[in-house]
Symmetry: C2
Subunit: 278 residues, 2 copies
Amino acid sequence: MGLWFTEKQTEDFGITAKINKTLHTEKTDFQKLDMVETAEWGNMLILDDMVMTTEKDEFVYHEMIAHVPLFTHPNPKHVLVVGGGDGGVIREILKHPSVEKAVLVEIDGKVIEYSKKFLPSIAGELEGPRVEVKVADGFMHIAESENAYDVIMVDSTEPVGPAVNLFSKGFYAGISKALKEDGVFVAQSDNPWFKADLIEQVFQDVKEIFPITKLYTANIPTYPSGLWTFTMGSKKHDPLQLKPERFHELDTKYYTEEIHQASFALPKFVKDLTEKKG
Amino acid sequence: MGLWFTEKQTEDFGITAKINKTLHTEKTDFQKLDMVETAEWGNMLILDDMVMTTEKDEFVYHEMIAHVPLFTHPNPKHVLVVGGGDGGVIREILKHPSVEKAVLVEIDGKVIEYSKKFLPSIAGELEGPRVEVKVADGFMHIAESENAYDVIMVDSTEPVGPAVNLFSKGFYAGISKALKEDGVFVAQSDNPWFKADLIEQVFQDVKEIFPITKLYTANIPTYPSGLWTFTMGSKKHDPLQLKPERFHELDTKYYTEEIHQASFALPKFVKDLTEKKG
């Protein structure tokens, strides 16, 4: 059989992938980092034993966390990514010509370093002239920012370890302050099959702060259950009320104008999570 | 660790589920049948080492293969299910009051027998007065039917073993003949991450026979990649041009009127599979 990586997505269920070789293993100041070459998914970044991204399916997550809020805003110029050290969100942001500056605030410099080395198709744009990379605590960066960004994406790990503060109501309040008056925010918010309570909590917390709060989904085969959610908070712009002329052609493999709309249509059991009392 | 079931969804990737106990194992005349109690998904039916259905996530597949074509047809009375011995599609069909007769043609009587025994929440409606169950070859049943059905669903296994004939152009031609003049047909057509060629082939084959051919998707966490496709062939009715009054309330956990529409919005790499030359 050889070497296989198995992620227990729950206590009783997981995925398993054949490994051609281990590229790097390290305990960083913040988490366990493994980079492996898999036979099915290409190179794979694993943090604390959870798949973060793979060369083969990364486009889904990165396109969907970036383009949905970026098209929701009419003219995004200043954009912040909290987390996302692999650089995939930055790569997608730079496809929008209106963007003048994309700031990445990643707490773990090792994620950036080894993504550049082993995931060049994902991290390759981190050096661009429109990009500013800071190795710092995203929570603190948000706390210190005011009226600074048009769009903020929170591309975090699970709410354990270094990302635990990124799933708190105080953080969402900080994001609101860091955004301009018509700013848009999105955070990855895990999956509805195994983490229903988390989705419910995040949605209610964001809803208390942002006038427009919506959940949308995408299919990511290497993430738990394959059905991933994103929670969007917007001060003014409704992602489902875009002017048709707002869209422009993009080089994508998942996102389309039609998918933008359809991703907000939720399976009934998922929709129910957004309709509970807070 | 105890006992785990691992399905290799490809040579190099799979899912793995903790088993509380094995309920039944048998080599039937057609395939290997395993029924196990899993810790995550409840009871699970496995044929030839592939997950067919589980108590926890079965509703997605069964609702989506049934309700999308049934609402596409304005007044479905006679409905045929080819395969589907677990009874889940029949259960969903019976939620439509217009249906007078639902016929199930399953080649392997053992699938019916053990589904009734170990999956009662799925198979429980197989005895109803509006249901006719035949243990027979679906390919032959189709060949012998003419102008008989309003809607036909093909709920088959993979195109290996007993189901290989159910993925042929001759079969789709037979289905067209077995349908009435405004009939609707749908077949499960696997996933776009690992079986892109199959989707492309099925779509082109169905398109040569049916004036309206569409692909739609659903998230099924225990199926390969979590993103499942269904190919619909329709003689007259367009699933995206339904009269609003056609919908009626249904007791579902996944399907909604909004999901009906949204499920036809395809990720770009999936849409591309439907636009290739035949």
